[in-house]
Amino acid sequence: MNFVLSILFSSFAVIVVVLIPWIGVGAFDLRILFGIIIPYAAMLTFFVGIVVRVIDWSRSPVPFRIPTTAGQEWSFPWIKSNPIDNPKGTGGVVIRMIFEVLTFRSLFRNTRLEYRRVDGVPKIDYEWEKWLWVAALVFHYSFLVIFLRHFRFFTEPVPGFVTLLQNLDGFMQMGAAPFNGFGLPGVYLTDMLLMAAVTWLLLRRILYSQIRYVSLPADYFPLLLIIALGFSGMLMRYLFRVDVTAVKELAIGLFKFSPVSPEGIGVIFYIHLFILCVLIAYFPFSKLMHLAGIFLSPTRNLSNNSRFVRHVNPWNYPVQTHTYDEYEDEFRDKMIEAGLPVEKEAESTVETEEKE
């Protein structure tokens, strides 16, 4: 796939995703379909899909213990080992996985030493080659915070931590936020961060030739979808206000399995909701499954202990080998001549039975 075509194709797909609810609710008022049926179907696909995929992965065994060792192994007591990057046991693996999952430790390694010439004198410097790590971290955590913030729509009463998060996130509204004083609600920090990060993740796919080379529609599509999701959400919050009470009624209804379809929610809400539904329904069939996959990755979730704890391969099978007897049969005379010890003397060669 060429990148121009990839982007066009993905953009087209996202536009279709936006148009469907727009027309569906805007023109045909299919509120039950878009407000109840599709969200349920999407959630079902999401949960069942993930479970099926994870089960499918775990059906394949891990025949060998192949952790990537990124530090000193455990050996003598007087040699300092690196229990996180080269874990000896489960404890180390758990810490390694926590670092990997919560801080994207491997991406963070992307550091690079640079030699610059300052006035003709070479100087060692560290280039800050962590934009990918920063963008990934900001993106994932903003997404998480935004997700948690949305709990205020599904829960009654709203849990304390959600309110707290909301206040922290929205602290900018106290101060010099650009929109303040225009009758607009406070700007959430995470909204801005998410959009900035996701834009950067998209831009680097277009600007860096190597990444452009490997990128597929499957890479552009989720990014564009998330941009559309965020954009529709922000439109809803800052421009086309919707009836929050009605939205909450719908959301709580969904989660209590007694769905209702209240009147008076703007189309923009259904667009936002439908994009989300597409995203989560697409999730189990896509690279987004890395969320679950990282936990199963054999180079990260195994300890480097195969020299002192046996790792069993469930499908290990006997193989044909070249036995010592076969070897000696072939070379016996020469071995004897060279003074190498043998199992059988030379004259018995004739009687040697065929092995195997």
């Binding site: 690079r112 030493l113 640079e114 610059r116 280039e127 190597q210």
Partner: protein, 170 residues
Amino acid sequence: MSIDKILAEKRSKIIKKWRNAIIKSYPEDGQGFLKREKSQFANPVGLTISTEIETLYDEIIKGENTEKISSCLDSIIRIRAVQDFKPSRAVAFVLQLKQIIRDELGSGHSDKMRILDNRIDEIALLAFDVYSACRQKISEIRVKEVKNQVGKLLERANLISEIPEQRPAL
């Protein structure tokens, strides 16, 4: 304005153009990497090209120190000799400089330019020598390795037994 002055003034522009021209000889999708990375260790190819052509340019303008020119050529061509280039392509970058300089100079300066042209031609020949030496080295290494694999054994010949063409009956 004298040609020397122009060449000194436009030094960085000419060098940049030259560098880009060299990098364009690499596979299209790797070019960004070669240009972007500034680290000596993460991107030896890109960095060698960038730094060596600077020195090379200065030496070409001065036209004195053949040894220095050779060493710059060696650094660049040693790399290009093991990449997927035909010999002509591997050393063509020297001649590319002519056109780049001419574009920068504009019309006029034909006398001076002729001197410079001749100088660059000579350096192109030098580049050919360097390229041949690198290829020669590769061949030497190949031969040496073959000998060395069995190095000590060859001294005590006749001791190797290869797998026979037909599988021996076991």
